[in-house]
């Protein structure tokens, strides 16, 4: 069930009404209802996926209780924690990475004959997300950061909460679990803001990401015959696509949660307005980067060690980040690329830690800031070639294609001028509005617009744009494949 589908448009109001009007008076029943609704939502893809998420939830739940029980016996607690991590990562590894490593092994040592090694497994939607979410709970219990819960329904609801189940944000138990432990009170302002976020997320996904995808897909599939200018435009629009798609999903997830009185963490903070790569990674897919920081980078020593070790730690984290996205050498290359950039900034001390937002308190950035933002985005675009390409060879040929200047720098032969105009207009609106609200909680905060008719007019324009470009929900969110 995609967020941008008619099925979800029917599902959500029904769940909303039942949540508040039927189950609103009893916390236990409300949590149970959230669990049932989440399992219906997830099972809509494939009911078999439910067995896996239930297993993950069950193991992590009992691990939390056992870790707490054996808190005084460190050896046992460590063993239980390790077993739970191995089990969950093992499941993730089996479904997501086994075939990749088997095929790579076969290519290296068996002359490419991998038929007998490969398994026919369907990758469960969202497995990377909920596995990490469940793991963060048991690790935090083990570290003593949170108390384990003994309410199995509450825990299962935490792992499977449908707005963020299939594509994040990857929540922390310290944030989300307590919200299932206390009574939710309907807040009209929060719910209204939730609807705004849903609308904004749909705009970014349907009007920007899906339209960019039409161009990008053609460019990447015909790259051998296209001029360099078109290839450059293709990768630029891919960065627009991936941002509109993923941040749009996060907005819808966070907005939906607000309708239910639940506050999820922010996942994107205008990353394309970052001034360097370090800032970019503090603003992009925040739930994943902070997860890797807290559970991988810091335990390895972080940056509080020698430069060599700090560089090593960065490489490990970025390669894991790449692998998390998918079982492919292109994702590993993507991780190596950003690890290299991080390593360079450690070596030369270039990674300034910005605490403020670009052009804070001002309408326009300075020339220096414009230059920094442009440079950061160029670096991001180059990395995105790996992310989008089907294999390393294609990525390499794409880079070489940048130097082919036979032909026009345009969408000619790929899209019509009116389609290109629509793409750029939508992107301009998206980035323009997010620029204006870059210091606010999200792109469509309306506290500056006092007139209700004007606010409603803005909502209507966005809504009509979404309806014009909407295509029956057949375009899935890119991050569902992770």
């Amino acid at each position: 069930m995609y967020f941008n589908s008619l099925t979800y448009a029917i599902f959500l109001p029904i769940v909303f009404c039942l949540y508040w009007f039927v189950f609103g008076r009893n916390l236990k029943w409300q949590n149970l209802f959230v669990l049932v609704a989440s399992y219906v939502f997830y099972g809509w893809w494939d009911w078999r996926f439910l067995l896996l998420i239930a297993l993950t939830s069950f193991c992590s739940f009992w691990s939390g209780i056992l870790i707490d029980k054996y808190r005084d016996d460190k050896k046992k607690a460590n063993l239980i924690n390790a077993a739970n991590i191995i089990l969950n990562l093992g499941i993730l590894g089996l479904f997501k990475y086994y075939n990749f490593f088997a095929a790579s092994f076969a290519n290296l040592f068996l002359g490419g004959h991998s038929d007998k090694l490969l398994m026919h497994l369907i990758l469960p939607v969202g497995i990377s997300f909920y596995t990490f979410q469940a793991l963060s709970y048991t690790i935090d219990v083990h570290r003593g950061k949170i108390e384990p819960t003994r309410d199995i329904v509450r825990f299962f609801a935490y792992v499977s909460f449908f707005p963020q189940l299939v594509a994040g944000p990857i929540e922390r138990a310290s944030n989300l679990l307590p919200q299932f432990a206390r009574k939710r009170v309907f807040d009209p302002a929060q719910a209204t803001d939730g609807l705004r976020l849903i609308l904004w997320g749909l705009f970014k996904k349907v009007v920007v990401a899906d339209q960019c995808a039409r161009y990008v897909d053609q460019v990447f599939s015909q790259q051998a015959s296209l001029p360099g200018g078109t290839l450059i435009l293709g990768v630029v629009l891919f960065t627009f696509q991936i941002y509109g798609d993923f941040s749009g999903y996060s907005d819808i997830a966070i907005g939906t949660s607000k309708l239910f009185g639940i506050k999820l963490m922010t996942n994107f903070r205008t990353p394309y307005f970052s001034r360097n790569i370090k800032e970019f990674w503090q603003r992009w897919h925040i739930s994943l980067t902070t997860w890797l920081r807290d559970y991988v980078y810091f335990p390895l020593g972080g940056s509080r060690c020698s430069k060599a070790k700090a560089i090593r730690n960065n490489y490990i984290v970025f390669i894991l980040c790449g692998l998390w996205h998918g079982a492919s050498w292109t994702y590993i290359a993507w991780g190596v690329y950003f690890g290299t950039l991080a390593g360079i900034s450690i070596l030369y001390g270039k990674g300034h830690n910005y605490k403020d937002t670009v052009a804070q308190g001002k309408l326009f950035p300075s020339l220096k800031e414009v230059g920094l933002i442009l440079w950061m985005n160029i670096l991001n675009c180059l990395g995105s070639v790996f992310f989008r390409s089907g294999n390393i060879g294609d990525a390499w040929r794409y880079f070489l294609g940048f130097f082919n200047w036979k032909g026009q720098f345009s969408g000619s032969g790929v899209m019509t001028p009116s389609q290109m105009t629509a793409i750029f207009a939508g992107s301009l609106v998206m980035f323009g509005i997010e620029w204006l609200n870059r210091e606010k909680e999200h792109g469509l905060v309306m506290d500056g617009v006092k007139s209700r008719p004007l606010r409603w007019a803005i909502y209507l324009v966005l809504m009509i744009s979404v309806l014009l470009f909407f295509d029956d929900g057949t375009s899935p969110f890119v991050y569902f494949q992770f």
Binding site: W20, F186, Q419, I464, L467, L468, F470
Partner: protein, 304 residues
Amino acid sequence: MRGFLFKLLIFSLVALATLVAGDFALSRWMRKAHHPNNEIWDEVMEGKVDADVVAFGSSRANTSFYPPVVDSVLKTSSWNLGVLGHHFQAEDLRYKMFRLHNRKPRIVVQFVDPLFFSSEKAFDRVQFLPWFWDKEYRKSFRESFGTAFFFKNAFPFVRYHSFLPWEVASDERRTERGFHTYESDIKNPFKPVFNESFIKDENLPDQFITFILSLKKDGIKVVMVHPPEYKTIVYNKGQREALRSVMDSIANLTRTPYIDYSRMGMCSDSTNFIDIWHLNLKGAIEFSDSLSNDIQRILSIGQE
């Protein structure tokens, strides 16, 4: 909660009113837009089709039946009412609207092809939407396409989803009494690996038979035609024979002449075609001449 729901309700009503107004404006604009699909529908709905010989079919009819040539051979007036991308259900709708707003023709040339009996509905569905404000049209649409598809395309403005008005506005093609040609955007339009299948919704052949018999009852002569196809078109095993068999049996049952031009001499020459399915203007002129002479011979007309 009550306040929130009340405001949501008011906003929804305002939004609905906006969508209805937007739909009305967009539909009105679309009806007069110079896009081949809209032009033909406008001619049908405004009663501009003054013709003795009318062609129905899909885009294969649109690009094959050239009225000026047909007129000169049959010494009468003709019109091309092919429906881009569509099959019998859409042609049935067009015929109903054509008869409602225009005079009865003497001859109907019905183009058939392997997709004629498929019930695929979604191709370029926007061409049908601007006339939903017409009550008779809505009724006929529902009869031709079914209730489910009707409701899927009835909600104001939302029904235009995934349609970009400026793409219609920027289309510079024009029709000549329904005939129009186009530039192929397929990279290799004559690539000989395309596998054509004869797709059949079980109910449609009977509906088609009923359609032909009703035309004949109305005093209209009918000719079934399989248009030329470029020689490299490849059918899946047995599919060409299945198509021929079904059309032959319908032709025999309804006593309708059925002429298969899919392998005529011009089909070997790529300069007659846009792609493996569609003739270009040169091909359409040559084909229309052959077709008109065959109609003249079979139906003994235009010889007075």
